[in-house]
Symmetry: C2
Subunit: 102 residues, 2 copies
DNA sequence: CACTTGCGTAACCATTCGGTTACTTATATA
DNA sequence: TATATAAGTAACCGAATGGTTACGCAAGTG
């Protein structure tokens, strides 16, 4: 059972989960409310995300709060960005960078 | 049959194929020589890569040369990089950028 | 204590994935 | 023309994936 970040983010539902909890921790039921699939399905997606370190769970009473942990993105970013020069150019990259600085 | 870039790069063999042809086009048999799996298996991996636009094939005689097309990486990069601030900081990002400029 | 709520997990199912071998087709070459 | 080479594809197979429903259990609440 391969369990790496590349595989974890291959599923669109899991990417949406990450989008959801990027800025604030949410408990599992709240996350599941945002999807049409069942709660157990979301539970398993989150399990996969925790198994590769992308999500950390903190239990608070009977609620399990899910928090995104983006450190694991470095592996993906490193791989993708080594090819950036091939799909954009330095000036574009600089422009984008400066825009983000504003 | 979902066929998007996220799913295409989820497989480690496909990422290796991209690494192989990143700097020079290679024909299919040459690519397959670098792996232990069979040529048809590689052929199907490359088919998946072409279906999502990551690889372009140019026939030259009886050889099919595979070229990487990194434009499709933008979708992945955009998604990952929007969270960069969470796993590094602006100064790190700037440093990395300046290093690349050298 | 009885009940509700939040969540994990087991069992099951259809589909997809990644691999194989065998075969076919197209292009070059003796 | 006969043969060798490059590569796609079909048929098959076991394992993984993503979903479901049913159930169990821990933590609050009446």
């Amino acid at each position: 059972m391969r369990r790496d970040v590349f595989q974890a983010i291959a599923d669109p539902t899991r990417r949406e989960i990450i989008n959801l909890i990027a800025h604030r921790s949410l408990n599992l039921n709240t996350i599941a409310d945002n999807f049409t699939v069942s709660r157990p399905a979301i539970s398993r997606h989150i399990k996969i995300l925790t198994e590769c370190g992308l999500v950390t769970i903190t239990q608070q009473g009977r609620e399990h709060y899910c928090e995104a942990n983006f450190k694991q993105f470095k592996e993906v970013s490193d791989w993708i960005e080594q090819y950036r020069i091939f799909w954009t150019d330095k000036l574009d990259a600089l422009g984008k960078f400066l825009d983000e600085e504003k």
